[in-house]
Amino acid sequence: MMTSVFHLELVFLVSLFCLGFAFVDSEDGTTLLEIKKSFKDVDNVLYDWTDTPSSDYCVWRGVTCDNVTFNVVALNLSGLNLDGEISTAIGKLKDLVTIDLRGNRLSGQIPDEIGDCSSLKSLDLSFNELYGDIPFSISKLRQLEFLVLKNNQLIGLIPSTLSQIPNLKVLDLSQNKLSGEIPRLIYWNEVLQYLGLRGNNLVGTLSPDMCQLTGLWYFDVRNNSLTGNIPQNIGNCTAFQVLDLSYNQLTGEIPFNIGFLQVATLSLQGNRLSGKIPSVIGLMQALAVLDLSCNKLSGPIPPILGNLTYTEKLYLHGNQLTGSIPPELGNMTKLHYLELNDNHLTGLIPPELGKLTELFDLNVANNHLEGPIPENLSSCTNLNSLNVHGNKLNGTIPPAFERLESMTYLNLSSNDIKGFIAIELSRIGNLDTLDISNNKISGSIPSSLGDLEHLLKLNLSRNNLTGVIPAEFGNLRSVLEIDLSNNHLSGIIPRELAQLQDLYSLNVSHNNLVGDIPTSNNFSRFSPDSFIGNPGLCGYWLSSTCHGSHPTERVSISKAAILGIALGALVILLMILIAACRPHNPTPFPDGSLDKPVTYSRPKLVILHMNMALHVYEDIMRVTENLSEKYIIGSGASSTVYKCVLKNCRPVAIKRLYSHYPQCLKEFETELETIGSIKHRNLVSLQGYSLSLSRNLLFYDYMENGSLWDLLHGKFVSKNKPVPCVRICFGVSLASLYAHLRILSKAANDAVMETIDPEITATCKDLGAVKKVFQLALLCTRRHPSDRPTMHEVTRVLGSLMPLEPPAKQPTTIPPALPSTKVTSYMDEYANLKTPHLVNCPSMSTSDAQLFINFGEVISRNSE
C-alpha cells in the first residue's frame, strides 16, 4: 500500500519534470509582445510578459497554451485596467479559442484581423471604450459561439454577415451606439440563444422573422427607437423566456396571440401601444413579471389576469385604463408589486386585494376610485408601501392598518377621507413617510404620532385638524420634513421641535398658532413662509406682528395718524404676503403621487452574478424581516450569516460584516468585485453585495450542506451517502487557497495561483511551500471562528511564500475544453429562470484524489 502511494508520487514528480523541461519554440511569444506593446499597461500587470529568452509565454499572466502544440489558445486579461488599443497582431494567434478583455479601458477599433483567429469560440470585449464598427471580418469566425461587445462606444450598423456565423449562441451588443435596422437575417441563426441589443439607437420595425429563432430564450431590444407594431405572429416565439421590447416607440395593439408565449418576463412598458390589454395574457401562466406600464392602453383590466398565480410584479400604471379594479386580482397570490396608478380607473378598491398576503407595494394613485379604503388591506401583512393619492376615496382611515407592521410608506393624500387620525397609525413603527394631506380629516393630532421614530416625512396639511401640535413630535429623531399647514391648529409651536436636527423643511403656515417661534438650535433656518398665516405667531424676523410691540407710551395720536399707520401696515403686510406666496407657486410641494420622494439614500445593491438579478435590496430585507435573528445560520470571525429564500431563485446566504464602514469604500468594493469574479467549483461564489453606513452585506450562494467545519467533523448528513472526509478537506482547502491567492495575485502578479489549483495545473515546484499552504488551509477550518486566521493574516503568510522572481519555464497544461465552459453559461441580465432537468454535478476526478494522497503524504512526513 505504502509503496504504491510512493509510486504514484514518483510518477507525479517525473511527469512534473517532463513538463518543466518541455519547450517548443513558437512565434506566439513575439506576437504577444506585439499585443502588449499596443496596450498601455498602466498598472504594469503584464510585467511578466518579457522577451528574455528564459521567459516562456505559456506562463505569462492571462495566457493559456495548448498542452501539445504550445500555441496560445486563450487570452484572459479581463479587469486589468488596461489602456490603449487591441493590436492588429492578434490575428496571428490562429489557435485562439477564447479572448476575454472584458472590463478594461481599451479604446480604438476592433481590428479587422480578429477575423483571422479562425478557431475563436468566445470573444468578449465588453465594458471597454472601443469605438468604430463591428468588423465585417467577424463573420469569418465560423466557430464563434459567444460574441459580447456590450458597453462600448461602437457605432455604425449591425452587419447582416453576423448571420453567416453558424454557431453563434450569444450575441450581446447592448449599450453601444449602433444605428440602423436590426438585420432580418440575424433571426435565421439556428442556435442563437441570447440576443441583447438593449440601449442602442436602432430603428425600423420588428420583423416577423424573429420567431424563426427556435432556440432563443432571451430577446432584449429595450431602449432603442424601434417603431411599428409588435409582429402578429409573436406567439410563435415559443422558446422565449424573456421578451423585453420596452422603451421604444412601438405602436398598435398588443397582438392577440401573444398569449401563446411561455415567457417569464414580458416587458412592453414605455411604448405607444394602444387598444385593450388582451385577455389571453391571463393564460400566460409562466409570467413572473408583466410590465405594460407607460403606454396608451385603454379599456378595462381583464379580470382573467387573476389567473396569473405565479406573477410577482404587475405594472399597469401610466395608461388610460378604465373600469374598476377586478376583484379577481386578489387571486394573484404571489404578487409583490401591483402598480395601477395614473390611469382612469373607477369604482371601489376591491377588498379582495386583502388576500394578497405577499404584496409589498400597492399603488393606485391618480385614478378616480371611490368608496372607502377597504379594511381588508390590513391582511396584506407584508405591505411596505401603500399609495392611494389623488382619488375620490371617502370614509375613514382604517384603524386595522396598525397590523401593517412592515409598512414604511403610507400616502392617503388628496382624497375625501374624513374622521380622525386613527391613533392606531402610530403603531406602524416602521413608517418613514406618512402623508394624509388634502383630505377632510378633523380632530386633533394624536400625540402618539411622536412614537413613529423612523419617520422621515410627515404631511398632515390641508385638513381640518384642530388642537395643538403635540410636543411629542420632538421624538421624531430622523424626521426631515413636517407639513402641518392649512389646518386649524392652535396653541404654540412646541419647543421640542427645535431638537429635530435633521429637519430641513417645516411648514405650519395658515393655522391659528400663537406665541413665539422658538429660536434655539438654529430654528431660524426655516424661512418666514413656514409660519405665515398664523396671526398670533411672533417671529424673529423683521415686521413680525409682535416686534413692534413697544409699550404704548403716548396716547395722544390723532385719529388720522392711526388710520395712516394702519393703512401703511396693511400695505406692507400685503406686500409681504405677495412676496411670500410668489415663490411658493412655481415650486409646489411634491405630493408623492409617483415614486417616493424620499431623499435619503438607500443602500446600493451591487449584483455580480445574475442569480439574484430579479431581486432588489428591499425584497431581501423583506424576506429576512430586516435580518431578523431567526434567519441566522451561523457566525464567523468577522460576520454573521443569514439565510434568505428568494422567489424564483436559489436561496442566498447573507454575510453581515461586523466591522463597520471600511476606511476606503472604493477599495473595498474593488476587492469585492475581485472575489465576485472568481468562479471555482469548490468555492461559494459571491453573488452580490451591498454597502451602506449601517451595514455591509455580502450575498453568497446558499450551500445546503452546512459549514466546512460541520463537514469535517461529521455533522454532515447526506441524503445519499456520506462524502469521504478527505475529499472535502482537500477540495475546500484548495478552493480557499485559490480565493486567497487570487486576491493576492492581483497585487503581486504571480503565477503561483495557477500552480496551486489542480484544475489549472498540477505543477508545483516547492513542496515546502505547498505544505505551509495546506496547513494554513486547515487553520481556516477551525471550529471556533476566532481560531481561524483572518483574511489579512492569510494574505501575509501567503505573501511570504511568494517567490520573488518569476517561476522558471513551465508549460502550463490546460485541458482545451476549459475556456469554453464560460460560453455555455451566459446569463447576464436575468436570473436563470428554468430548473435544469439534469443538474450538472461536478464530482472529484481521480487525479484530484491522487494528488491529495501525495500532498497528505508529504505533510505527514514533514510534521513528524
Binding site: G156, L157, S160, S163, P183, W188, T214, G215, F256, T824
Partner: protein, 460 residues
C-alpha cells in the same frame, strides 16, 4: 361592430376550450403509448449509451421529458379519441437554456427516428456525430408527411447522400444541413417542397450540377449552398424565388454567367456569390434593379470589366465585397454619391486605376475601405477627420502611384504611402492636357460619355 363581437366570441371560445382541455388533462393524464416511449429510450441510448435514460426518466416521457423531447395532443377526427405523440426530438447540448441530451463521441443514428415517430415535426442534431461515422438510414416512404424542420448542424461524422435524407417531406419548412459530411447532388425532389422557407446546405461535401427546378419554392427565404463542391451554371429558376432574403452560393465551383433572372429577387437582402468560377462577363448590371440589397459579395470571381455605374437605386447597401475580381478602370465617383449607408467597401486586389473618388470621404457610415493592391494614383482626397474616423481600416498599400498629403502622412493607416511631391502652383493648362491625354489613351467612349454626363449633372 360584428367583427368585434365575433372576435370576442372566438376569444371566449378559445379560453373556455383551453380551460376545458386543461381540466381534462388533469382528470386523466394522457400517457405516451409504451411502444413510442420505448422508441424514445432506444433513440436516446443510441445518442448517448453512457446515460441510463430509463432510470433518469422513468415516468411518462411526455409528462416528465428530458429537454429536447416535446409531445403534443392529437384528436382522431372520427372517434374523437385524444392521443399523445412525440413531435420534436432535439439532440446535442446547445446551452444551459437548450440543454438537449448530450451526444457521446460514438453516437449512432437510430433508424427508429424515421419509423417510430409518425407525428414528428422537428428533428434537430447539434454537434452530435463527431467521431464515429453515422450513416443516413433508408427512410421509409410512409414517414415524413408531418416533418416541418430537419436540422443537422456540425455533425462532421454524419455521412450519406443528400438524396437519402430528403424524403417525402411535404410539410418541410426548414432544411438545415450545415457542417456535416453529406455528399452527392441536390435531388430533384427538393424542387417539390412547396412549403419550404429555408434551405441551408452549407459546409458539406455536396457536388454536381444544380439542375433542380426551384420555381415551385415560392415561400423560400433563405438559400445557402455555400462551402460545397457544386459546379456548372446557377439554374436560372433561382430567379423565381421572389421571397428570397438571402442567396449564398459562395465557395463552390459555379461557373458561366451569373443568371440575369436574379434581378427578379426583389426582396433580396444578402447576395454572396464569392469564390466561385463565374466567367469573364463583368459585374452583373442587373444589381441596379435590386433595391433592397444590403450586402453584395462577388469577390474571388474573375468577372473582369469595370465597376459599373449601377448605384443610383442601391442606397440601402451596407457592404460591397468586390475583391480579387480582375476589375479594371476607375472607381466610379457615383458610388460615393449614392451609397449613403455604405459601411464596408472591398475593392482590393484588382487592377483599378485612376484616382480615389473624393466622394468616398463624405460617406457618413463608412468604416472600412480596402483598396489595397491596385494601380490607383494621385493624391488621397480625404480629410484628416475622415482618415481619423476610418483609422486603420482605410487600407491603401500596394498602390505605388498613390500619394498622401503631408498633413496626413503621420497617420498610421496611410503612413506607408509616399508623400505627394509639393504640387506648388499647378499649371492649369498642363493639368488639363494631362487629363485629356489620359482620357484619350484609355480611349473609352463610355468614359467620355460619363464625363459629359457628370458635367451635365454639375450644370443642372
Amino acid at each position: 361592430m360584428t367583427v368585434v363581437s365575433i372576435f370576442k366570441l372566438a376569444l371566449f371560445f378559445t379560453l373556455t376550450s383551453t380551460l376545458v382541455t386543461i381540466s381534462l388533462q388533469q382528470e386523466q393524464p394522457l400517457l405516451l403509448n409504451s411502444a413510442e416511449q420505448d422508441s424514445v429510450y432506444q433513440v436516446l441510448s443510441s445518442i448517448n449509451s453512457a446515460t441510463n435514460w430509463r432510470t433518469l426518466f422513468p415516468d411518462d416521457l411526455c409528462s416528465y421529458p428530458p429537454h429536447g423531447v416535446v409531445c403534443d395532443y392529437f384528436t382522431d377526427p372520427t372517434t374523437k379519441n385524444v392521443t399523445v405523440h412525440v413531435t420534436e426530438l432535439s439532440f446535442g447540448y446547445v446551452s444551459d437554456f437548450t440543454p438537449n441530451p448530450s451526444c457521446s463521441p460514438n453516437s449512432t443514428f437510430s433508424p427508429l427516428l424515421f419509423t417510430s415517430f409518425k407525428h414528428l415535426r422537428k428533428l434537430f442534431f447539434y454537434q452530435c456525430f463527431t467521431q464515429t461515422q453515422a450513416f443516413v438510414p433508408v427512410i421509409p416512404t410512409t414517414f415524413g408527411s408531418s416533418l416541418e424542420e430537419l436540422v443537422f448542424i456540425n455533425n462532421p461524422a454524419f455521412v450519406g447522400p443528400l438524396s437519402g435524407i430528403t424524403g417525402n417531406f411535404t410539410s418541410l419548412r426548414r432544411l438545415v444541413l450545415s457542417g456535416n459530411g453529406i455528399h452527392g447532388a441536390i435531388p430533384n425532389a427538393i424542387g417539390d417542397l412547396a412549403n419550404i422557407e429555408e434551405i441551408t446546405l452549407s459546409r458539406n461535401k455536396l457536388s454536381g450540377k444544380v439542375s433542380v427546378n426551384l420555381s415551385k419554392l415560392k415561400k423560400l427565404k433563405i438559400l445557402d449552398l455555400s462551402g460545397n463542391g457544386f459546379h456548372g451554371n446557377v439554374p436560372s429558376s433561382v430567379g423565381n424565388l421572389t421571397h428570397l432574403l438571402k442567396l449564398d452560393l459562395s465557395s463552390n465551383g459555379f461557373s458561366g454567367k451569373i443568371p440575369e433572372s436574379l434581378s427578379n429577387l426583389q426582396a433580396l437582402d444578402f447576395l454572396d456569390l464569392s469564390f466561385n468560377r463565374f466567367g469573364n462577363f463583368g459585374v452583373p448590371l442587373f444589381l441596379a434593379a435590386m433595391p433592397r440589397l444590403k450586402e453584395v459579395h462577388l469577390s474571388g470571381n474573375l468577372l473582369g470589366g469595370e465597376v459599373p455605374e449601377i448605384w443610383g437605386n442601391l442606397g440601402g447597401i451596407l457592404g460591397i465585397g468586390f475583391s480579387n475580381m480582375g476589375l479594371v478602370g476607375e472607381i466610379p465617383a457615383s458610388m460615393g454619391l449614392h451609397l449613403r449607408n455604405l459601411c464596408y467597401l472591398g475593392l482590393d486586389n484588382n487592377k483599378l486605376n485612376g484616382k480615389v473618388p473624393e466622394e468616398f470621404g463624405f460617406l457618413e457610415f463608412v468604416n472600412e475601405i480596402n483598396l489595397e493592391n491596385n494601380n490607383l494614383s494621385g493624391k488621397l482626397p480625404f480629410s484628416a477627420n475622415f482618415t481619423a474616423k476610418v483609422g486603420e481600416k482605410l487600407r491603401l498599400k500596394g498602390n505605388p502611384e498613390l500619394c498622401v498629403d503631408e498633413k496626413l502622412s503621420h497617420r498610421e493607416s496611410v503612413g506607408e504611402l509616399k508623400k505627394c511631391s509639393k504640387p506648388d502652383i499647378p499649371n492649369p493648362v498642363l493639368f488639363i492636357g494631362v487629363s485629356h491625354s489620359g482620357l484619350l489613351s484609355s480611349s473609352s467612349p463610355f468614359l467620355v460619355l460619363l464625363l459629359f454626363w457628370g458635367l451635365w449633372i454639375l450644370l443642372a
